[in-house]
Subunit: 426 residues, 4 copies
């Protein structure tokens, strides 16, 4: 059984209702549309997402941002149901099988995410991307569910002959993005990220098999892209959140380094599996022991280790962990231009002195990186507007001014991070 909300309907001798509904503060109620979808949600692979925060360390900046990938996936599924209903209402044929498949595709689109995903992928689970793992898990579920996920997987991969279904799962106006903007806005309290998702969905249409937006919806799309841009700079790439994530990367890298050398570190068995083994993509795919351990990992495994490591013997690891626990995050500077290498080098030298570390370990305390963002990409997955005269054109051409042109430019920023002990030495 899935949850109290659900068991209520199955209880007793008199069945009141077979529809399953879940309370969602963002949309009110989410309906689970079929038994198969229900069973997929109930599977441990999916339930695991309950313990993985959608925004990783961002709650250090926005305390409300502790919502989970579980909730996001349900929300995206809800929007998908709305989108499909709209398109059917406009006369486009979508079979029941296709409808269930596209709902499953969006439900599972992020199932390969691990805890603090971006940090993890760059460190201890580095041979394989979360996208690869998503496919792996979908295939595994497909096997368990008697190939009922065939169509969902086709749609997910973009190989099904109705491209608009794939675009709803993964495109510049997909229900993934719509939900995460809504949801991240809601839980952070950053009202600038609110989008008119109901209006956008009502303006969706299909033209030559591809997703389009009716001309009347053009301002809502503009607003959607601006909201996305704002959420990037105000939330996803917020300096403090970026600093915290970089710190976690360094912690995991150091732990891996130590484990490789044979140092024993406190960890759950599953987390330990990835600390002591270095696994190639091929190995990951072929030996089920890796996926078995991966699907046991969640935020709890990482964070308990960080807490224990903070009092451990390795000076570098314990120092980095204490930084995170006391939120003495890296000082982070942002600039449109690359930083002067001499300054970086000089900071590194001071780090060796002040922190009493070896030169080879300077990278744990002083480093540069870049962050980039574009709100809108002009490419083959662009957003097309269905004009009143029946033609379509890219939104940057359909709109009446330069806003969208601005949004389609890539913004790249350089960052310089160094520990706070060096703060007054710069």
């Amino acid at each position: 059984m899935y949850s109290g909300k659900l068991t209520i309907f199955a209880e007793g001798t008199f069945i009141l209702n077979k529809k399953k509904i879940i309370n969602d503060p963002v949309y009110g109620f989410i309906t689970i549309p079929s038994e198969l979808v229900y069973d997929l949600i109930d599977h441990p692979y999916f339930q695991r997402l309950r313990n993985i925060k959608q925004l990783g360390m961002t709650h250090l900046v926005y305390p409300g941002a502790v919502h989970t990938r579980f909730h996001h996936a349900l929300g995206a599924m809800h929007l998908m149901s709305m989108a499909i209903e709209t398109l059917k209402g406009k006369g486009h044929e979508i079979t029941e099988e296709e409808e269930e498949a596209v709902v499953i595709a969006i439900l599972l689109h992020d199932i390969g995410h691990g805890p603090y995903s971006h940090a993890l992928e760059n460190t201890i689970v580095s041979g394989i991307s979360h996208e690869d793992i998503s496919i792996l898990l979908m295939n595994s579920l497909n096997e368990k569910f008697g190939n009922k996920l065939d169509l969902a997987i086709q749609i997910f991969k973009g190989s099904y002959n109705k491209p608009f279904l794939h675009q709803l799962v993964s495109g510049q106006l997909d229900t993934d993005r719509m939900d995460y903007l809504n949801r991240d806005s809601f839980f952070t309290g950053v009202s600038e990220g609110i989008i008119g998702f109901d209006r956008i969905i009502k303006m969706l249409n299909v033209f030559n098999g591809h997703l389009v937006v009716e001309e009347k919806g053009i301002y809502s799309i503009e607003k959607f892209l601006v909201a996305r841009r704002i959420m990037y700079w105000q939330v996803y790439l917020h300096k403090t959140a970026v600093a915290a994530e970089h710190l976690l990367v360094k912690i995991l890298r150091r732990a891996k380094e130590l484990s490789n050398k044979g140092v024993h570190l406190f960890a759950t068995p599953s987390f330990n599996h990835f600390l002591v083994n270095t696994i190639s993509k091929d190995e990951f795919i072929t030996d089920p022991i890796h996926i078995r351990n991966f699907t046991c990992l969640d935020d709890h495994d990482i964070f308990t280790s960080v807490k224990v490591w903070a009092t451990g013997d390795d000076q570098i690891l314990s120092r980095l962990c204490r930084y995170l626990l006391t939120r003495s995050l890296y000082k982070i500077e942002v600039s449109p231009e690359p930083f002067d290498p001499k300054r970086v080098e000089s900071l590194g030298e001071r780090a060796v002195d002040v922190l009493n570390i070896e030169s080879k370990d300077v990278g744990y305390f002083v480093f540069t990186d870049t962050i980039t963002n574009h709100a809108y990409k002009v490419d083959d997955e662009s957003i097309n507007i269905l004009m009143k005269n029946g033609t379509t054109r890219d939104i940057t051409l359909a709109s009446d001014n330069a806003i969208l042109e601005g949004l389609s430019k890539t913004v790249k920023k350089h960052i310089l991070c160094y520990t706070k002990e060096l703060n007054n030495l710069k």
Copy 2:
């Protein structure tokens, strides 16, 4: 430094603003009113609350309910500032020192909570209540902060000579309750719990040193009490949440039992401290090692152990942990009358057979309990209404009908829990 939201103001050479603000999806923005309050928030004792969910296992029913005790404490502080401003606006003298003190009192009112507090208090940290620990931690902070918390502690304990300040911290209309109803409603999505907190606060007044509500606010209070009642039955005492909490109690009890026997179980050092030691209240108070370990505990410690224990050797512990992880929670029956002991006994006998356990361990799989709730207590902490003629009276007397009478009755329900394997055997 506390968070990115805050650091922004301290950065650079040109100080823009010394006011600290935090985004809150419930109230928009929360302002941190003073340096001392800021430093208390920044202290590890308080930061620990970031990793303790306000509603424990309730997110199994309401996926959005992953908000933390950290956020709740900030929210209650925000409402306290509003309440104080209102009372000052009505001409009541409240000094700056008192204002800071009452804000600190509410900020720290829950600081003694451990992870999954109710489960913990009944099992591995059983010698001492979270209220005791709150006082202990406040005293400890008072020491660290040069006795600046003296007045806050007096107000918290109710020994200060302006009783209304204590009532705002802990009473039937305190800002704790107002925030948790608002916040739990917001994050669960149960709109029935919404209260008109801004109106209630604007209707507060002081009469003979005690908190009163102006007559015009009577319906808002009625609504507040009904909302509280609804939240109890719909959220706090939701059958599934109750079943999950009971399951966690049994898990922790079994782990303690095994640890007492010398069985080694996976745990972080701090969690292990409480598994292997049985600590009296006196010991807890006198030896700082206990508080040091306690203040390292959070939800992560408990949940990682449950995950690891699920594959452990002890059949009972591993079975209980698997129940929780797969949400195969106890079947729970609710009744206004006690359950027939024969039926309970007979269920127990079947459990022995079906689960292949010993009689002495039946209580892990079959048991009864009671849950009670009253929305409003008529006692010396009752809600008094300030009538237009200048007299006060208890709200149950001031209101024009029987609703409040109903709300002041205690509702007691009996529950019977048993594992799902016995479901079709009843």
Copy 3:
């Protein structure tokens, strides 16, 4: 054409969409489900409701409460569509014809309302109730639309053999009440009136042909009834709003009295028709000239006359109108007991003196009345709960405490009104 929102879809040579949608701040979007419904909305009888405020004079207290009967009717229609979809989803057969009919029934349920309806019905249009006029207008529309409203009218009158459809239009849980609580709450800003309409609707079911609520929805109903009670005392029977309405009654009564005597008063032709003629119910029904004039009336007609009359010759009428325009409303006292007739008489005598009026006109300046409210009526239209064991019972019996008992009591209050000039003379 109905509106810009709508015309967009019909424009151009390439038809994008035949669905009509209307922005609604309360529900987001309202969809017009069929061409017939569209045409009814477009009819002048219905469009007239655009210029009739739902809450009459209440905006004098709550400045946001200027929303119209037009908007309310659309909102109730929206909730009806949701309710029907829910019931169909639970397997109850509802034909397309029935669905359209019940939607039309709720859309037109208030079509007989005039401007400031309660004031009007007690004065210049006194021979006939707004319910009678609703039926009259529905029959007239039925004629114009080739008897396509036959079924809607049957449902409205309660003579169709599926009683639950009538109950959705007119019962203790009808979509009329649900919308007006939502809408009046939204526009007044009185958050205490917010109801969990989406949850209530999802909990609706049909049992033996009658509307029932599933047991799980019991707290939402409780909350609904409490919200309704609060809205009555806080908004609908707010002293100031009641005083304003009584004043308008007196104004219209005086105007009618003068017109009967042959005095000419400024008025639009349609308003004048009702000032100079006294029309019986029979005449109203048989001679179409009356309905023709009635359907031209809206708030504008009444208020412009009040403005002009305020500077007119009749001392009583001009004084009353000035009271309204400057919101020098009656002083109103409320009491659970009847007022002492001697005090009323004495106030009247003072009025004669102070205002220099004749004794026979005292009733314009001093009078008593009663206001009553019950949130819930226990009768044959009661709210029945569908218990998990498959039986039904009245909500007052199904709930676990005395709240609902309290709500089902009628509350009656006495009021005494007198002009402010007498204020310091009481």
Copy 4:
């Protein structure tokens, strides 16, 4: 006395509270900060705004948009109080007298508006702008209130030596704009117009006496400007609303033309005053009879006349009025280029034929016009950003991309209107 919300506090012998509050669905509660402000709100000049819709005919498109100029002025006052509190909190000296003055300045900023202001100004009250009348009425109030408005008027006119106060009343980030975007968004239900006003206000600061926005608020400003742009195209310049307003202009122009010829038309005395007289700005200012009549006008006067005129003798006037009442508005075409004069002429010729009118009256049925909008003007009132390094720069230079450049371009569109009878003749 102002309203029930307020009288509650003054009633009885025991004064509970002297603070006056008003429910507002947009902000919760609005507090009236002083007795003088209270008395100004209570004055008939201001109360008149209760009967003037903020968005004129726009409710034909968005049925919720019936909110009034009265409510907007109160909302703008509320935001002003918040802004002043923020600036004072940042250490800028603002005296109590200045605070009251700037609050009064924003409260009265629109007091000169007549009903359907833009239509009116172009027709029957054409000698003088609503800005001129605002000043006239402020001066008149200043006289009545013993020159207590001196400072408010200085701030309003921009002659006071703290320019930031004037900028808060009238600038690119004034509280007028902030409130109307919030309020119009709220009541229309167009969520794209929502702005983060609380964040913007918290980011305001003063630099060299001028209003600036702290760098951290840059994205909120971007969003504000985009929201404003969207509201323009989606609401304020919505084709249907524009068509309705143009129709009203033509109606009033025809009525004036007929009145000038001596034709008697139904009208209230005050409306009639402006129909039969043509008043120069000088006459308006010098002879108080004009302002006396003007301040009696509201939406009711205009709309009752339209209703009566629809059945009058003049074929053109009655036809235009019927168009409006049945919302058979002009067909409106929009184009970036001017329309071909030949096509316009040819439409005019057909109008003469089809509608049986004289050539000189063609302009009532076929005409062209332009609409323009720029979200942001780069000029001396531009929005300046206070950078972290302590310098300021225009927002278009401070932002990192081309969005704002886009927003600062003027968008001009040509429209062609013609009556629907010509629709199939184009």
